[in-house]
Symmetry: C2
DNA sequence: ATAATAAGTGAGTAATCACTCACTGGAGGA
DNA sequence: TCCTCCAGTGAGTGATTACTCACTTATTAT
């Protein structure tokens, strides 16, 4: 693996910042050069085209960030934690992921915003990753079902519901309500997801 | 309210298509003119600048679409349906919304993608709408709580969880898995949201 | 039929775009 | 001291951008 020079890293950082704020098409190479404090020509010493710079930005993000965000220690969870009360262990993992995503919310924004306009990059960078992640999550749910802990709901649906609640919570905190106490929110969404919102009047309370 | 001429409508439609596929900055006025089958100058007869065309696109979408998507017949639901089994009534409403969103997924894409790069447009078009919608949803949940139907969870969190599950399902259907049977999915997410995913072994089953 | 107005045109414009290339300055070796 | 090397430069390139305007064509009024 070749090192990135300090100059190259400055260009990459400037591109990440500007792409996140203005979008790829809304950002000129002149702006990137100015922000990175290099001449415009220097950018093209390292990256043949602007598109290749975007490719490098996405590659950088996905190589350095996504694996650590996505790779959940599922085996440990399934082995160590009592699935009768999976909340505690899962909460720790989620907290860790939230922190990582929050720290790199700019990178997440770029991936979400740009990948949809570049079909080639979508295939290149998310082709295996996202389906693999979904399958893994579904497998975890299936394990829970087979152990009699989770109800027998279609795993794809069950996982999507949880991810949806979780993702919107992360977005809520990072883009709208930074004052949200994420620990409390995770407790709440796990509670809702596990127990539902309906009041069980006849329950063993 | 002034009429839009047929030409103006063609320009608007072309802009919506191209903005949705390529993004605002990724689309040139030349492309829009070609797609709308007008001369480039004609665009600027109707819209002083390209930005104003975007403004009109967003205005058009939000005026004609968002109210019908967002305005839920809450009063009717709360009055007519038995809240002990709110699923049936809510499901009908959701199905209707999904259809509307799916039909206009291009418009939804534009709002989501472009509004974040134009702070002025965000204020102008979503300033009151989104907070208003959230408050309304929270009020519905609060009503459910006060009637003893829903558990006493923070309404903001409860609403966000449901909206997250619902939104990701709609995205899943429209962008990844068009074969999803949305009626079944809505049943499932309402079931999960209401009852949770945990297997109740000691329950009255 | 003719004048008046509106709708639509497309070549033209300055600015900006991504990208090039002949050049510079400085570090390291002989 | 001189040569080699190369990261870094920035004026310059043709293409493309959003936008203009003098003009033509279509529509309506008289």
């Amino acid at each position: 693996m070749k090192k990135r020079s300090e100059t190259q890293q400055r260009i990459l950082d400037a591109a990440i910042n500007l792409f996140a704020i203005q979008g790829y098409h809304g950002t000129s190479t002149a702006q990137i050069a100015k922000a990175a404090k290099v001449a415009e020509g220097t950018i093209f010493k390292y990256y043949k085209t602007k598109k290749e710079l975007l490719r490098s930005v996405l590659g950088y993000i996905i190589k350095e960030l996504v694996p650590t965000i996505m790779q959940l220690p599922f085996e440990e969870i399934l082995r160590d934690c009592s699935l009768d009360d999976p909340k505690a262990a899962i909460k720790q993992v989620l907290l860790q992921k939230v922190e990582l995503i929050s720290k790199n919310i700019y990178c997440v924004k770029i991936v979400i915003n740009e990948i949809q306009y570049h079909e080639d990059l979508k295939e290149e960078y998310l082709g295996q990753l996202v389906p693999g992640f979904i399958k893994l999550m579904e497998e975890v749910y299936r394990t829970g079902v087979s152990k009699g802990v989770f109800r027998d709901i279609n795993p794809h649906t069950a996982v999507r519901c949880f991810v949806g609640s979780f993702a919107l919570t992360v977005l809520d905190k990072n883009l709208l309500n930074p004052q949200l106490e994420i620990s409390r929110e995770i407790d709440a969404i796990l509670d809702i997801y596990i127990n539902g919102v309906i009041e069980k009047r006849g329950s063993n309370g």
